[in-house]
């Protein structure tokens, strides 16, 4: 699927005041909200319940009308547009999915195309294309009803439905909030991979700071009363929380959270002392003794790691074989997040991760000390052009 048009979204001094009765029902007020979201970016609105994040979202497609202020899509005030026409041009995904139980999956996905009067043939082919895009086999799913799908599958259908008419803006209200953590993580990764090709402008509401950090290009941390406490890229929010509220909301483990934003490729790899199968032990011993880890890494002819050789435990002479090697430390690749790398290293005997390329050949080493040095030095680093998505997931399952 090719990237369509993406729109800018701007909130200009938007206020939504509720009377006392409405406030008791949990509707969040919004106070003088001004945000500018560039085209093609994901902006996450995150905050505790009642902070007005959902209200802010629903004012874009005018499910809620602001008391004052303006919201502009591509510079055009939404208040001046016909409501139904406006909504058909904005993708909308909600937590409980809101799929129509009486329609098949294919009919659900084709909802907006049908409202727009597309031909039946075009509706069907679009629905099939989108089901494939979100990882659901059309041949298997198109004719089913929503009740026949799992929670995760229903959420994918919800996303496919929102994408149906290729809207320049998507509104997503806790779209992965109702599924279990494992499914949520997978959906997040797939969603980010999808966004790499779609490059839609996406407003995403969540109360989960980890999700906000993972998903957002920009994160608006909101606090009670509909006030934006900080609006910045996630790395900036973690490195420099703008207030005590933000610091508390992102949590005391924000150093660890920052690690999840960066990959092994951000580090300069340390060279590994290699030993090839069949090499003479005396030679290898000498090299290993000179290595900072007092070890050499035994590899095969294709430089694929076999195990660690510890200098003190090697034979005096003769060819080196697998029987001399201790077990391997964790294998990483350049796309592994630093958080995953750290966590794998903490649990292993040799605290050096072996970074391999796509053919499993050794490229170098990463140590725990290197990662913590990097955290200290890189207070202002920005994860440029290497945003974290499914990479960590792939490395863990590959």
């Amino acid at each position: 699927m090719t990237a369509g048009h993406a729109a800018t979204v701007e909130y200009e001094h938007v206020t939504k005041a509720y009377d006392a009765a409405a406030l008791r029902t949990g509707a969040g007020a919004v106070n003088d909200l001004s945000l500018a979201i560039p085209a093609g970016k994901i902006c996450v609105l995150v905050g505790p319940s009642g902070c007005g994040k959902t209200t802010s979202l629903k004012m874009v497609n005018r499910l809620i009308e602001p008391t004052s202020g303006r919201i502009l899509l591509d510079g055009q005030d939404v208040a001046g547009r016909d409501q139904t026409e406006l909504r058909r041009g904005i993708g909308y995904v909600i937590q409980q999915t809101g799929l129509f139980p009486h329609q098949t999956i294919e009919e659900n996905v084709a909802t907006v195309p049908r409202l727009l009067g597309w031909s039946a043939e075009r509706q069907r082919s679009r629905a099939e294309e989108l089901l494939a895009t979100v990882g659901l086999d059309p041949a298997k799913y198109a004719r089913r009803f929503p009740a026949q799908l799992s929670g995760g599958e229903r959420q994918r259908v919800g996303v496919a439905r929102a994408l149906a008419a290729d809207p320049p803006v998507m509104l997503m209200d806790e779209p992965f909030g109702a599924v279990d953590p494992i499914v949520r993580e997978r959906l997040q990764n797939e969603f980010l991979r999808l966004q790499e090709t779609l490059a839609k402008t996406i407003l995403f509401v969540t109360h989960d700071i980890d999700e906000a950090i993972k998903i957002g290009d920009l994160v608006a941390v909101m606090q009670a009363g509909g006030i934006v406490a900080q609006f910045a890229p996630p790395a900036e929010i973690l490195a420099h929380p703008a207030s005590a509220f933000v610091a508390r909301f992102v949590g005391t483990d924000r150093g660890l959270k920052r690690l999840s934003l960066f990959r092994v490729s951000s580090l300069d790899l340390q060279p590994a002392t290699l030993a090839f199968l069949g090499e003479d032990a005396a030679d290898v011993r000498r090299r290993a003794a000179a290595d900072p880890l007092a070890s050499a890494l035994l590899v095969d002819a294709e430089r694929r790691p076999i195990g660690w050789l510890v200098a003190a435990e090697m034979p005096r002479s003769g060819p080196i074989g697998p029987q001399h090697a201790a077990s391997l430390s964790p294998l990483l690749d350049r796309r592994t997040t630093l958080k995953d790398a750290m966590s794998m290293l903490l649990g292993s005997d040799v605290q050096a991760g072996i970074v391999v390329d796509r053919h499993d050949a050794v490229r170098g080493l990463v140590t725990v000390g290197q990662i913590s040095d990097w955290v200290r030095r890189s207070g202002d680093a920005v994860p440029a052009g290497d945003r974290v998505d499914a990479g960590g997931d792939e490395a863990a399952t590959a």
Binding site: R88, Q96, P101, S150
Partner: protein
């Protein structure tokens, strides 16, 4: 009973034409009130769906109408309409209102909030949402109400025999049987009325199943 048989099969065999005629009368006495009652109830239900006070008033009025004894209602209406079909149809229709309005409103209320929000958020107009989302999803409960109204009407329609030969339906057999001490007619009238009610209910269940394949779609049923 003077040696008369419990069920005089010979008499039944000689009067199949009459039985068919009574059946078409009874069918008319059922279909017309239920159909008219449904259209009126649907309009009322949509009008009061989001007006709880109006709903309470309508249900109270329909409840009062429902308590009027059918014989009294027929006699009352007949003062204005004479011995016409209307005399039976008007009371029978008003009796359906309580069941149908309540059932239709209950049906609309089963539509999940997230479904309504998604429909509006994606750009359904209010009318499109009503016809294409709310109404189809209300169908299971609406059908339950229609079945109940139909079975009730079939039973009540036997009283229409007071209208006489032209409109009487199966109730005509009952009345005549009582007047002439002829048990065959009594059992025939009662039996046919019950059989008709059961058959109508079965047919409506079938129609509902056809109309709502999604309602039985569950995770296991792939």
């Amino acid at each position: 009973m003077n040696g008369k048989p419990f069920l005089d099969l010979g008499w039944i065999g000689d009067h199949l034409g009459l039985i068919w005629e009574r059946f078409t009368q009874h069918l008319e006495l059922t279909v017309v009130p239920v159909a008219v009652g449904f259209v009126v109830s649907l309009a009322i239900a949509i009008a009061i769906l989001h007006r709880p006070r109006a709903y309470a008033v309508v249900i109270a009025v329909a409840g009062i109408l429902y308590t009027i004894p059918s014989l009294a209602a027929f006699l009352l209406v007949s003062r204005f309409t004479g011995l016409s079909l209307l005399t039976a149809v008007i009371p029978l229709t008003t009796y359906t209102l309580l069941i149908l309005v309540r059932g239709i409103v209950a049906g609309f209320r089963t539509v999940p909030e997230d479904v309504l929000e998604a429909a509006t958020g994606m750009g359904y107009t209010a009318r499109q949402r009503l016809l294409r989302v709310e109404l189809p999803l209300a169908v299971p409960l609406i059908f339950t109400a229609i079945r109940l109204a139909t079975v009730t009407t079939i039973g009540l329609a036997t009283v229409a025999a007071i209208l006489g030969d032209t409109y009487g339906g199966f109730g005509q057999f009952l009345t005549e049987g009582l007047q002439t001490f002829f048990p065959t007619k009594i059992y025939l009238g009662a039996g046919l009325s019950v059989a008709f009610a059961m058959t109508a209910d079965l047919i409506l269940v079938r129609v509902e199943r056809r109309a709502t394949p999604w309602a039985r779609a569950r995770a296991g049923a792939r």
